[in-house]
């Protein structure tokens, strides 16, 4: 299937010589939610800015809906909605006026019904005639989303959408992203919050130092790179780890009350049943067992440590 967003060999070198992006290649399918993870200065915002037309690429190509973002910028940009990271709003305008302006920029006629629906969806209808400067930070964030949605984009870019927002608004936004996916909207978001990517993304891309280290299905990534840990609580604490268990990779923790074994999920040599048999044969009595899987955050940190 033709991707709705295609980035090919994208490079960006700023005037000061800083290489912000290095040969980025990325395809995003229609209706997909892609989370771009990376530390500050990794190049996430630069990538989004080039796709949306705010920053010029040094080399490479971007296609949105099959349209080249430079030579066919009108068609490409008309498919895009962007929610920037900073709360940049026209402070003297009203939410209603601001949404009308956004529709106008996209060449759309005034549509009071659509403006009302978007403002209501984002709980801003009561504030429609207030000056934006009087809105709270959370409301301004919602307004930026409303402005990005009022022309009904096919691809929505959310640059750090939940930075500095409270838990309730964050949950609302996650719900909104899920609804957009149901409508067939593709969402690309950048985030520092791993749990955000874990909660809503289909695929995760990790960027560091301008390089796209990987783009992988969230579950596959966690399965292939995620660490698991077998934790065995003992009835009677051990003073010394039996040699047979030490050879299998177990360690003794919590003052001899717990046996631990770390392994990769895809490690075929590890069979939990066999491990338990070995424990039983070593004469160790088990009180309880449980396994713990590493989070996306731990995978992310591991990836960054591995990258040159």
């Amino acid at each position: 299937m033709t991707p709705v967003l295609s980035v090919q060999h994208l490079n960006k070198v700023y005037k000061d010589g800083q290489q912000a992006l290095r040969d980025i290649n990325l395809d995003v399918a229609k209706g997909e939610i892609l989370a771009l993870l990376g530390p500050n200065g990794a190049g996430k915002t630069t990538l989004i800015s080039i796709i949306c037309g705010i920053v010029n690429a040094t080399s490479g190509r971007v296609r949105v809906g099959g349209f080249d973002s430079v030579t066919q910028f009108r068609q490409a940009r008309s498919l895009i909605g962007l929610v920037p990271q900073e709360l940049t709003t026209d402070t003297f305008e009203t939410p209603k006026g601001s949404l009308n302006f956004s529709r106008g920029l996209f060449g759309l006629p005034p549509d009071p019904g659509k403006v009302e629906q978007v403002l209501r969806d984002l709980s801003l209808w009561d504030k429609k005639d207030n000056r934006i400067m009087t809105l709270s930070g959370g409301m301004k964030r919602r307004l930026l989303i409303a402005k990005a949605l009022v022309h009904e984009p096919k691809v929505l870019f959310l640059d750090e959408p939940t930075a500095g927002v409270d838990v309730a608004l964050r949950q609302d936004m996650w719900q909104m992203v899920a609804q957009l996916r149901e409508q067939g909207v593709t969402v690309v978001l950048t985030t520092h919050y791993i749990e955000e990517a874990e909660a809503i993304a289909d695929r995760v891309g990790v960027i560091s130092c301008g390089k796209l280290l990987l783009v992988e299905d969230k579950y596959k990534l966690m399965a292939s790179m995620g660490q698991k840990q077998l934790q065995v609580d003992l009835k009677t604490p051990l003073t010394e780890l039996p040699v047979t268990l030490a050879e299998l990779g177990f360690s003794l923790q919590n003052h001899g009350q717990q046996l631990l074994l770390g392994y990769r999920r895809d490690d075929e040599n590890i069979a939990v049943g066999a491990m338990l048999s070995a424990i039983h044969q070593a004469g160790v009595e088990v009180a309880d067992i449980h396994t713990v899987q590493s989070s996306l955050e731990e995978i992310f940190i591991e990836l960054l440590q591995e990258s040159p």
């Binding site: 005037k15 010029n56 962007l82 920037p84 302006f101 920029l105 060449g107």
Partner: protein
């Protein structure tokens, strides 16, 4: 052509004018009225006629041009600078709007506003001095061309400036002196011969002279040359804007 976007930008900018009506309209009208009181009334009564026109009436075209030029510059420069300063420029850059469409929207609004002010000042001047307009069509043509040209110039300043000080630098330190020394309040024939030659290097002389000719059929330089100078200035501004848009200078990194 995305005409709806042009209209959206135009209306957005005009709404800003409406919000700041005292600063946008009342202030220039008041300051121009003060010029009439001081130069036209107090000082003008002691000055003989200039080329057969009373001094109060003589300075009317110059005062209108002074306002048109300064207002066009400040409106257009602020119009594009403020979104850059506040960061809201992202919306314009990521919308399906070409740079030329954005220019038409911003410059059109700035020129409309300064035209409005120019016409209000003309009407205000009518309360102080008798005014005749020998060539109304030429008067409107000079008014429109100067508004557009200086709005284009202001638009360039708004793109070039990276702080509020620079935004004011060229209007205050370059344009205002050129306007004051460009024959707004005197005929250049009143200057010593050497200074007359120097004054001819001031492009504003040609604009004021042509505009004054449309009122009283008196001018410091030929009206054809005045018109040519406006067109040249406009062509220079358009060329520079073309460069800005081609390279994304100060708009896109």
């Amino acid at each position: 052509m995305n005409w709806r976007a042009v209209l959206a930008i135009y209306l957005f900018e005009m709404a800003r004018t409406k919000r700041t009506i005292s600063q946008s309209i009342v202030s220039p009208v008041l300051s121009t009225s003060l010029y009439f009181v001081v130069f036209g009334g107090a000082i003008g009564s002691r000055i003989e006629q200039v080329d057969g026109v009373s001094y109060g009436a003589f300075i009317v075209p110059g005062l209108i041009m002074l306002s048109i030029m300064t207002q066009s510059l400040s409106n257009a420069s602020f119009g594009i600078y403020f979104p850059r300063f506040s960061g809201t420029i992202y919306e314009l850059l990521s919308a399906p709007v070409s740079f030329w469409e954005a220019t038409v929207g911003y410059v059109g609004a700035a020129a409309s506003k300064s035209l409005m002010i120019g016409l209000i000042i003309l009407a205000t001047a009518g309360f102080f001095v008798p005014i005749q307009i020998a060539h109304p069509m030429w008067m409107v043509a000079f008014l429109v061309l100067t508004s557009i040209t200086f709005s284009l110039f202001g638009f360039l300043i708004g793109i070039w400036a990276d702080d509020f000080e620079k935004l004011q630098l060229i209007p205050l330190l370059v344009v205002t002196p050129l306007v004051f020394l460009g024959g707004a309040f005197y005929s250049i024939e009143m200057l010593p011969a050497a200074w007359q030659t120097v004054t001819l290097f001031n492009p504003v002389v040609y604009l004021i002279s042509g505009f004054r000719w449309s009122f009283y059929e008196i001018s410091d330089v030929g009206v054809g040359i005045s018109l040519l100078m406006v067109m040249v200035f406009m062509a220079v501004c358009l060329t520079l804007i073309g460069y800005v848009f081609k390279t994304g200078y100060r708009l896109k990194q």
